[in-house]
């Protein structure tokens, strides 16, 4: 069966056009996000790993190794089944620090640009033959199906289409950090296509080749040799080495790293992938045997690797031949696209950028985008050349298989990255170098040149692989143990190690605001890029651009480094940030930091059991006691680093725990910094009633401190101070009020005595003056007597006021409790005031809610209102309005009297309730009015407040507000 080239070409192009279409409509947002971001799409996109090896090579492997062909499937499945041990921690790190490849991860962990460069070079050597294998598979398949065109022409066309797809949908138009949803959905579609194709060809093989499953089993029973081969154990170690190789490839291979970590939208999707991807591989491996057996039964002369395509030819079915062909194209194209995308970023970050960086004047994003596109093109066509140039196509396959083994050399570094913080870059580079050297000399060189230059005691390939791995691990461990790690490396190791958590350096930064960040980054990145990156980091963190608190600036620095790492790679980003946004003080290795120890325990709390869980409960209890203590608690570590900041202190200072814990004390801002710092350095262990101005209001704070001695446990080297801050403001205000009341009471008592003593003689003088006035004939004497009487009247009125004032505070036991109609009282007060002929032309505006009532004494309330309205009238200019309002607020009734005068000056506000204090002209007022009002209101269980100026900005006058408990009929009846 021979196909027209046009048919195959049309089919191949149509298939790739569908991929273009899927990616295009997804990128345009025409497919809902609930579909594009569904975890199943993520799982299927991971099916990119099932490339030519699973689609074509599996049949040949199944014939040679029997069940041993399942080793690659088992290896990759194990990596996902055990995802919490390796994949999830790596996902957490890559997400936090925007690491896009294995090279990024290793460069970040071992803090060495060389780690990234070496990893990229090894991957480049290992992956290029793999790319050529995919191209070869597609070209060979077409070569089997048609004789019309040369395989090279077909390979060129295939590479051209794949290059266009990768450039259009893999690089995007942004900074390169964004997710490629179109690409992911297209790759997921490819996974479905190849699974469907293989299952369809498998079923076809069973029914067309044998007539059904029973017939196939019957045929199998008649083939004892085949059955023996099927279940014959592989040479010792082969299965394990292959499984380990594919287990490592799940993380180390660029395409798997890219899909698993870079394009992951939701970490929870990895949970689904943990079992769904093994299921996918199980389904993919299931039809391999039926296809193999059907091919053997048919006596096919085609290479076994191509049975999935040739089954249709053998059993005369065009449709299944084409299905097999499309499945093969999808397996090859998906891998090429993803692998070149991943590798282009690695090459850019670790081979090009360390040597040449764009200058600040250039558009960095555009520069990076085009470099990435060029690299993708170069990689795909490099793969093509690797396929095209060698005469012996079989050697390409052999080199591809051997090159794949190189990825195994990264296994020790990956495990150490997560589980051995002691491992360092020297160990990693030494281990990797020896492993790669053995691989190259004893595996790669013989296969590539066809000559064994060096022999190693006739060891088999799997033994050489094992040896390279053993040497790698041994050297890695020994060098790491006998060399020192830098502080930076230790910090990275702490971050990556499963036993520790992300920590921030809490030292001060040289840049104090986002504007300074932009200014400092302008030099390396240019104004436009620096501004864009800083604004992006601010938006990511939801921080305002005017923010300048040290805590926020540290967060901004961390975010900027992570974002730039996604753009330029971790090595360049770290170097750039360290150079242009340095910390003032390099912090120590803070593995002994109490907060770090605490957060570490907190993170693994659910994993603790037995005594450890009991101790943790105890720790949490004690911590909770301190956090919930109604006194402010601040604990300082060495160099005044804030270790604890409890909730009461958060309320008192308005500074959250998150903002200050780990910072230096001098970063918390005034006034708290000076207060705590002075007290810490002072000799006194207690300081009472320190006055602090907080947001314009006065607060009274008492401070107490205790020194924390160094712990005997070497893990906790705490040496600091614990400070208690007691807020006494409420108590102080109550005391002030009490003092004021006492003073009023004493003045009242004094006034009563004075009134009594003065009243009697005055009455006598007045009587005598009246006698003189009535009995004398002298006009002059009568006039003088009249003046005496007037003065004594005035004195009597003052005395009467004093008596009233004195009595107002001493009638608590004789309270009159009647229902007072407030509106009536207000009307009566205004009526009384209007009787005064000297009163100005004032308007009264009354707004009282219907049925405003309270329990009390109507005469006293009247007295209060007359006083207040009188004062308002005195303060008001002519023709102004005095507003008297009565509102019901919850269970209180609020009466307010507002004038449109000039208000009460700030300097005398505190004194207006003092007896004898007046601003009126001598003889105009006694200064007892408001004092009297104050006493009466208190007697009526009310409260008085003065707002001057009133809140209405247009009115600078005064508003006096009286609050009384509202009359509640039901309550009173009870």
């Amino acid at each position: 069966m021979i196909f027209d080239l046009s048919t195959l070409f049309g089919l191949g192009v149509a298939y790739l056009a569908i991929l273009f279409g899927i990616a295009f409509v997804t990128d345009r947002g025409w497919i809902p996000q609930r579909i594009t971001q569904h975890p199943l799409v993520y799982v299927l996109s991971l099916g990119v790993f099932a490339s030519v090896w699973s689609y074509y090579a599996a049949t040949g492997n199944a014939f040679r190794d029997g069940f041993g062909y399942l080793a690659p499937f088992i290896g990759i499945s194990l990596a996902f089944l055990l995802s919490p041990l390796m994949l999830r921690p790596i996902l957490n790190i890559t997400k936090s620090y925007q690491l896009s490849s294995m090279a990024d991860l290793l460069a970040f962990r071992y803090r060495s640009p060389w780690a990234g460069t070496l990893t990229t070079l090894v991957m480049l050597i290992g992956v290029t033959p793999l790319l050529s294998l995919q191209i070869q598979a597609v070209a060979n398949t077409v070569g089997i199906l048609t004789t019309e065109a040369s395989q090279t022409t077909l390979a060129i066309t295939f590479c051209l289409l794949i290059t266009l797809f990768a450039i259009f949908f893999g690089t995007g138009r942004g900074s390169g950090r964004e997710k490629h949803e179109g690409l992911v959905l297209a790759i997921a579609f490819e996974s479905v296509v190849k699974l469907f194709a293989l299952l369809a060809v498998g079923l076809f093989s069973v029914y067309a080749g044998f007539g059904g499953f029973d017939a196939m089993n019957q045929w199998l029973i008649e083939q004892p040799e085949l059955l023996r081969q099927l279940k014959e154990p592989s040479p010792p170690g082969t299965f394990q080495i292959t499984a380990l190789l594919f287990f490592t490839a799940a993380v180390a291979m660029p395409h798997m790293f890219y899909m698993t970590f870079n394009e992951n939208n939701d970490p929870k999707a990895l949970n689904l992938a943990s079992w769904a991807l093994p299921l996918y591989f199980l389904l993919l491996s299931l039809p391999v045997f039926p296809i193999l057996w059907a091919g053997l039964k048919s006596g096919s002369t085609s290479p076994m690797e191509y049975y999935p395509v040739t089954m249709g030819i053998e059993y005369n079915s065009e449709i299944f031949t084409l299905i097999g062909f499309i499945g093969g194209v999808s397996a090859a194209s998906g891998l090429i696209i993803v692998i070149t995308l991943a590798l282009s970023t690695m090459c850019l970050n670790h081979l090009i950028l360390p040597i040449y960086q764009p200058n600040a004047g250039q558009n960095i994003y555009r520069w990076l985008l085009w470099r990435r596109r060029l690299l993708i093109t170069a990689l795909i066509w490099g793969g093509f050349l690797f396929y095209y140039l060698p005469d012996d196509k079989l050697s390409v396959r052999a080199i591809g298989n051997v090159a794949f083994i190189a990825s195994l050399q990264f296994l020790p570094a990956i495990i150490a990255l997560l589980y051995w913080p002691r491992g360092n870059k020297k160990g990693f580079l030494a281990g990797l170098s020896i492993g790669i050297a053995i691989w190259f000399v004893f595996l790669m060189l013989p296969v590539a040149t066809g000559t064994n230059y060096f022999t190693l005691a006739n060891l088999s390939s799997r033994e050489i692989i094992a040896l390279s791995l053993i040497c790698n691990v041994t050297l890695f461990v020994l060098v790491s143990l006998f060399t020192r790690s830098s502080d930076e490396e230790k910090a990275s190791a702490d971050i990556c190690s499963l036993d520790t958590l992300r920590r921030r350096n809490q030292s001060g930064l040289s840049a104090k605001s986002p504007q300074e960040f932009i200014a400092k980054l302008t030099k390396p990145l240019g104004q436009r890029t620096a501004t864009r990156e800083v604004l992006k980091a601010l938006a990511d963190l939801k921080i305002d651009s005017q923010e300048s608190r040290p805590h926020a600036m540290r967060l901004l620095r961390g975010r900027l480094e992570a974002n730039l790492s996604g753009l330029l790679g971790p090595a360049i980003a770290h170097d750039l940030i360290d150079r242009f946004l340095p910390y003032n003080i390099q912090s120590d290795n803070y593995s002994t930091d109490i907060n770090v120890i605490e957060s570490r325990i907190e993170a693994y709390r659910s994993n603790l059991s037995g005594m450890a869980a009991d101790l943790d409960n105890l720790r949490r209890y004690h911590r909770q006691v301190l956090l919930e203590l109604p006194l402010g608690v601040c604990s300082l570590g060495p160099q005044n680093q804030i270790v604890m900041w409890n909730r009461a202190l958060e309320e008192l200072t308005g500074i959250t725990n998150e903002e200050v814990v780990g910072s230096q004390l001098d970063e918390i801002g005034e006034p708290w910094c000076s207060i705590i710092l002075n007290f810490t350095h002072g000799e006194n262990a207690h300081q009472h009633k320190q006055v602090v101005q907080v947001k314009g209001s006065k607060r009274y704070i008492s401070l107490h401190k205790a020194v924390i001695e160094k712990s005997s446990a070497h893990q906790i080297q705490q040496d600091g101070v614990v400070i208690l801050l007691e807020d006494l403001t409420e108590t102080e205000l109550l005391e002030e009020e009490l003092t004021h009341s006492e003073r009023l009471a004493s003045i009242g008592r004094l006034a009563a005595g004075v009134a009594h003593e003065i009243g009697n003689p005055i009455t006598g003088i007045a009587c005598l003056a009246q006698n003189i006035r009535d009995e004398t004939d002298s006009d002059e004497l009568r006039s003088m007597a009249r003046q005496i009487i007037e003065q004594t009247d005035r004195t009597s009125r003052i005395v009467q006021s004093l008596v009233n004032f004195a009595h107002s505070g001493s009638h608590l036991t004789e309270k009159t409790r009647e229902i007072v109609d407030i509106e009536e009282c207000i009307d009566e007060a205004i009526a009384l005031i209007s009787l005064n002929k000297k009163s100005k032309d004032i308007r009264y505006k009354i707004a009282c809610f219907p049925g405003a009532r309270m329990l009390g004494d109507s005469q006293r309330l009247l007295q209060v209102l007359v006083n207040l309205i009188n004062n308002a009238q005195d303060a008001s200019p002519a023709h102004s309005t005095i507003t008297i309002e009565c509102k019901k607020i919850a269970s209180s009734v609020e009466i307010s009297v507002s004038d449109e005068g000039s208000g009460i000056p700030e300097t005398i506000k505190d004194r207006v309730f003092e007896p004898f204090f007046t601003t009126k002209e001598p003889g105009e007022g006694t200064g007892l009015g408001l004092s009297l009002v104050y006493s009466i209101v208190e007697n009526l269980d009310g409260h008085i407040d003065i707002m001057s100026p009133t809140r209405q900005s247009e009115n600078p006058g005064t508003r006096v507000i009286l609050s009384f408990p509202c009359y509640d009929e039901a309550k009173v009846e009870q």
Binding site: L81, L82, R228, S274, A603
Partner: protein, 58 residues
Amino acid sequence: MYIPPSTLIILVFSYLLFLLSTDWVMQEAGAWYRPFIVSLFVIIVAAWAYREQNSDDL
């Protein structure tokens, strides 16, 4: 090194299943798809073990 309970379940189950099923899978007269049945059991247990998020996860 901390191993989450879900992973521990899968590890222990797979190990026991491997011990118990090796002979059954390799029987000469046994069906060719027996290894796939064993694998399917492991995947089902994994699906059950990972059915809900571990509290330590992101």
